[in-house]
Subunit: 285 residues, 2 copies
């Protein structure tokens, strides 16, 4: 599952130009390749353009505002933005669900595997569940209006290889059953806008116990969020970011303050975001 | 998760009598113990009565219509009926959710473990999800109005010990992820009344592959149900019953006919039920 945040995101500029293909003309905020085939946004855009075969070319400017490797979905933002922008310029030949498929090609360049965990919420907004692949089956769930997210991003690098190496290929049936319950409870809570049920269900007994050791200060920061009234908290993406979901902005502000204070103890620099859920997904500004 | 069926069920009669305790005065349809402490309905009733401490006793007649060991929840029906009936006679001191807790005590006598998988749908009706225990957390999901169930009950005994022995204590993370997707998709499909999504999600990649070998003719019967238009099909409870969910009564009739024909090939006697979902649960008749 994934969720799309409001106010944290990249900005991109698109131009329809004579000719064919996709060209990246400007990149600010990050040191990324300009070659289309080596750039996440470029690869996603090419997948779309190759499928649509329009009689024009496209130029893209990328203004990165999300740091790579944060666990906040930086590469997905680029991929989602690219397919969204070009689809708009072409007059929307593809649905948002179809765009997820193209954006996954960009995600594959960044993460080594085609998955929709992050591009789906970027494009569709709200909460998303990837039921499965072959064919891709993504379900969008509207966010209850009072859900706010706090995301604390420690400025450390967790290597993808490390973050994969700690995952065991097997889980106990007992833990899987517990997590089926939590997953089901979370989805039921989102549909019924039952904030307490959402809170009780925001528990990860599978991945978090394996990966939390890679994130200094995780346990203490998570507990401080829960003590301050967060509905739940956990690892954002593959980490190192730590997220909390809260009911209402006032609660989120209290939780953000508590998490900041807790993380200061580690001595590791960080930034922290407080955001409503973006129920619309990537959009024209 | 579980689901409550309409028209398949036990009938019970309750009487408030002078004195204390719970006495089982009549049992038809099955050879079950009359001693309250050795009878599933008796144990569930005692759990309730001990908590409420009413100034009267209760008599129970049990008229079994569901065969034990079928995987249709025979013991759960007795436990659910007992706590429901006595709670009604006491003037409903407990909520339906609380009754699930008491009924679990009866279930424990039958299955060796206190679980709510079957008593929860019997009491609450519709579809139920057991999110977790300690404390018990059960979520009721209203059934989309056109869901019908077909349940084929082969007259063979699958020993509980066999049905447990085939379960591996571990599952692959890959299979667990697939099943999280299916579980999430099923719940989303139930809330949004998206029958196709319900169908795509009705896949069990965890337990069914381990247990289906205990049920002769399973694969063939399941496939015949799907070919005839069932949304999905699988093992009912721990087996040996095979269930299919369908959209609408006409489709369910077609599926029931196809499953019957397929099962006839095994030469094993069976009975087959076609039922709407009972969205109310156990009730006064």
């Amino acid at each position: 599952m994934g969720v799309c945040l409001e106010g944290i995101g990249d900005e991109m500029v698109f131009r329809k130009v004579p000719g064919k293909g996709v060209r990246i003309t400007q990149i600010t905020g990050a040191d990324l390749p300009f070659e289309t085939e080596k750039n996440v946004a470029g690869v996603a855009a090419l997948a779309l353009v190759n499928a649509a075969n329009p009689d024009s070319g496209f130029e893209i400017e990328i203004h990165k505002k999300i740091k790579a490797g944060s666990g906040i979905g930086s590469s997905s933002a680029s991929a989602a933005g690219a397919v969204f922008g070009i689809n708009e310029l072409m007059g929307r030949p593809f649905t948002k669900h179809q765009l997820v498929d193209f954006a996954m090609k960009g995600e594959a360049l960044a993460s080594g595997s085609e998955h929709a965990d992050n591009v789906a919420p970027c494009i569709l907004g709200g909460f998303t569940l990837v039921r499965g692949y072959n064919p891709l089956d993504v379900i969008k769930i509207e966010s209850p209006s009072e859900i706010y997210a706090v995301v604390l991003h420690p400025h450390i690098e967790v290597k993808t290889s490390d973050s994969r190496a700690v995952l065991s290929p097997n889980v106990t049936l007992k833990a899987a059953i517990t997590q089926w319950g939590n997953l089901g409870g979370l989805i039921a809570g989102l549909y019924t806008k039952d904030y307490e049920l959402i809170g009780r269900s925001l528990q990860d007994v599978i991945i978090e116990p394996m990966r939390k050791k890679l994130i200094p200060g995780f346990e203490n920061t998570k507990n401080s969020a829960l003590d301050a009234g967060a509905l739940g908290a956990g690892i954002s993406g593959a980490g190192p970011s730590i997220f909390a979901l809260c009911k209402g902005q006032t609660s989120a502000e209290k939780v953000a303050f508590a998490m900041s204070n807790a993380y200061l103890e580690t001595g590791i620099p960080f930034d922290i975001h407080l955001s409503k859920v973006n129920d619309e997904g990537v959009k024209t500004i």
